[in-house]
């Protein structure tokens, strides 16, 4: 019976699959040679938006309120102004979506519009030959979204459009900082360590981390990496899938030294990041720890896990501190976003028009108002109401560049291997980080 259980188990576990993209065996941006994505104009029979009726299936991860209702409203709004287009909403829980999208792209009837996180992962999905090159449809307006949108470009061509952005930084509890006598947020790592000491002195856990899930560990390592490495070094490392530059070794050394100061909660290796009552975000939301390095979604993740109705007012946000002597820009941020892609079967320009509609300021306001993240369209910045989130958005806008999370920027296999290696390294952090460096080239 246990084998049947294993079956059921793989199934359940599949629900927590992370980013779904295939790995490329050698480099990452050779996608143009391995597949010739059919441009949408030759795939569709009608080029005029006002002629034949068009139906688009839309796979998104807004399976619960409030975003579910918001998306349904958005569909209504779009269909009102585009009478010949019908959008079929297919919401799916996030992890279930990641499990289903790869077989769907492999099969013969993928959805028309589906969620896409861009960057190296997108490059891998392009190998399926099913992603549409929408450059001609979007070139006229996409530059208004600014630099972060370029993560949805591969080899200079557009394969997706973002609808919200994310950035990673330190969420902190103002009440606990006050208790420990900390009057201003740290701007350098030594200052952060000093603040940690103050918190410990007052019996407060300084930082909570969901180490069991692996990717929160990666946030730390990647931030130290982009503080130590210049922008070009990072970009080069992502495209050549190699962490051989010496600054990456320095990042491991920095993080090992940081961890020596005992910043995390007891038993952090077994704590999950979110969703469940024993997660790290629950600890933050219930005042059991003072800080968490997480994405802008942390408030939404933590709000349901506490009886405290005033959580939003108690939380502040500050960017990852500077590392003295690092070659990286202290204002650079780690982040990403959510977007959508059209498949080659989707009717154009209808599909691209819908993606554009999602970036218009009014629609952005709705999406952001439902707590999806930071707006993809800078014009909609005023839709954010929580001060902590506004601070995050400001840091994102002021950043000289946004480093996409490495597991998305790299081809999927390399990215996952990196996450796994960092997570394993966290249980006994040795300063060279050799296992992390070598992880992106193997085992598969």
């Amino acid at each position: 019976m246990r084998s049947s259980r294993a079956l059921a188990a793989v199934a359940i576990a599949a629900a927590t699959v992370t980013a779904a993209a295939a790995c490329s065996s050698g480099g990452s941006s050779s996608s143009s040679s391995s597949s010739t994505p059919v441009t949408s104009t030759s795939a569709s029979t009608s080029t005029s938006a006002s002629a034949t009726p068009v139906t688009l299936t839309w796979w998104n991860n807004a399976n619960t309120q409030p975003l579910l209702g918001v998306f349904q409203n958005i569909i209504k709004g779009f269909e009102a102004t585009h009478p010949n287009i019908t959008i079929t909403n297919v919401p799916m829980q996030n992890e279930q979506f990641k499990t289903k999208i790869t077989p769907a792209l492999r099969g013969n009837s993928p959805p028309d519009i589906f969620q896409q996180w861009g960057s190296g992962q997108q490059a891998t999905q392009i190998q399926s030959g099913k992603l549409a090159d929408i450059s001609s449809q979007v070139n006229s307006w996409i530059s208004s979204l600014g630099a972060p949108a370029t993560a949805w470009q591969t080899s200079g061509k557009w394969y997706g459009v973002p609808y919200d952005l994310h950035v990673v930084g330190f969420w902190y509890r103002k009440d606990l900082f006050q208790q420990a006598g900390i009057t201003s947020t740290p701007t350098t790592v030594p200052e952060l360590e000093a603040d940690n000491a103050k918190l410990r002195a007052h019996n407060i856990t300084p930082i909570t981390i969901g180490s069991k899930d692996g990717w929160p560990d990666a946030f730390y390592w990647e931030y130290f990496a982009i503080r130590e490495c210049s922008q070009s070094t990072v970009a080069q490392a992502m495209s050549s899938v190699s962490l051989s530059a010496p600054c990456f070794t320095k990042a491991s050394a920095d993080l090992a030294a940081f961890m020596k100061t005992n910043p995390f909660q007891t038993g952090f290796l077994g704590t999950p990041a979110q969703s469940v009552p024993n997660s790290s975000v629950a600890a933050l939301a219930n005042g059991k720890a003072a800080m968490e390095l997480q994405g802008d979604w942390d408030l939404a993740a933590g709000a349901g896990l506490t009886t405290d109705k005033n959580l939003a007012s108690k939380l502040g946000w500050f960017p990852f501190p500077a590392v003295p002597g690092g070659a990286g820009d202290p204002k650079a941020v780690l982040g990403g976003g959510d977007g959508y892609s059209c498949t080659t079967a989707a009717s154009q320009p209808a599909c691209a028009e819908f993606l554009q509609y999602l970036t218009t300021p009014a629609v952005q306001a709705q999406i952001i108002g439902a707590g999806a993240g930071l707006p993809a369209n800078p014009q909609a910045a005023s839709a954010l109401t929580v001060p902590a989130e506004q601070a995050a958005a400001a840091a994102n806008a002021a950043a000289p560049y946004v480093a996409v999370y490495f597991d998305i920027a790299l081809p999927t296999t390399a990215g996952q291997n990196l996450d796994n290696a960092v997570a394993k390294w966290f249980s006994s952090p040795e300063p060279t980080g050799a296992s992390i460096i070598s992880s992106v080239s193997g085992p598969a």
Partner: protein, 267 residues
């Protein structure tokens, strides 16, 4: 005797407390649970159970699960008993090879077959279709069904068979009218196992179903999970309710269950 009771209580405690935990936490709010993981419900949030029981989609999920589990169990046990009969009471070349072939189905981690199976189901047009789940589930339950039924069927005395044949009944009629009724306890056993396996099956329905109205109970849990958060209390309440039919099936079969498997080890 006192030792029996003492040990029983310890076992009961270790087994029951976590089960109670599920039920009790289903009557709290997730926020409560996060605040303190071991406190009793305060206040009792019966609305969790009420919400679930009054939501149309819960009963939809229940109906789908029941339909699929019913079909899968019937197929697995029906075809499995036929195959077990052939493998236990017929002599033919390659019989042990067939038997080992069936048993080998248990030896594979199922993930290996997931993608090819999906593509195959797509080819057969079985996606978003209950049979796209029931048929493979029945197929995967065949090995364990045959593993358990074969020795039990073997144990039925050959004289019964001879007597039936003397009376003019064919072997197949013997199978249906005499052997199967004698194997009722074992049949109930494998039925229960196939049913529970299908009831908790997740990956196959996930790959096959896209329309929410076709979801089974395990998929239905996603109703309470979003991208960054999950309503743990509702999930626990939902699971407690979803387990009731499976536990009910066990209680129903328990009388036969214990007597049933025993035939497998006679002689």
């Amino acid at each position: 005797m006192p030792a029996t009771y003492l040990v029983s209580i310890v076992i009961l405690g270790i087994t029951v407390v976590p089960l109670l935990y599920v039920f009790l936490d289903g009557a709290r709010s997730t926020a409560q649970i996060s605040n303190s993981s071991t406190a009793l419900p305060n206040p009792w949030v019966w609305s969790n159970y009420a919400t679930i029981l009054s939501s149309a989609s819960f009963w939809e999920f229940l109906g789908n699960s029941a339909l699929i589990a019913g079909v899968a169990t019937a197929l697995a046990v029906g075809l499995g008993s036929m195959a077990a009969f052939a493998l236990s009471r017929y002599a033919f070349r390659g019989r042990e090879v067939f038997y080992t072939l069936f048993i080998s189905g248990i030896l594979f981690p199922i993930g290996i077959a997931a993608l090819p199976l999906f593509l195959q189901l797509q080819l057969l047009g079985l996606l978003d279709n209950q049979f796209g789940v029931a048929l493979p589930e029945a197929a995967f339950s065949l090995p364990i069904t045959i593993l358990i039924l074969r020795p039990f069927m073997r144990a039925i005395p050959g004289d019964l068979e001879d007597a039936a044949l003397v009376d003019g009944a064919g072997r197949l009629r013997f199978f249906v009218q005499i052997l199967l009724p004698l194997c009722k306890p074992a049949l109930v056993t494998v039925s229960l196992l196939a049913f529970v396996t299908s009831w908790n099956q997740f990956l196959l329905p996930l790959l096959v179903f896209t329309t929410q109205s076709h979801f089974t109970l395990p998929l239905g849990v996603s109703t309470y999970q979003s991208t960054y958060s999950a309503d743990t209390a509702l999930i626990l309440a939902f699971t407690a309710l979803a387990a009731v039919p499976a536990l009910g099936a066990f209680m129903f079969a328990e009388r036969y269950l214990v007597a049933g498997a025993s035939g497998a080890v006679k002689g």
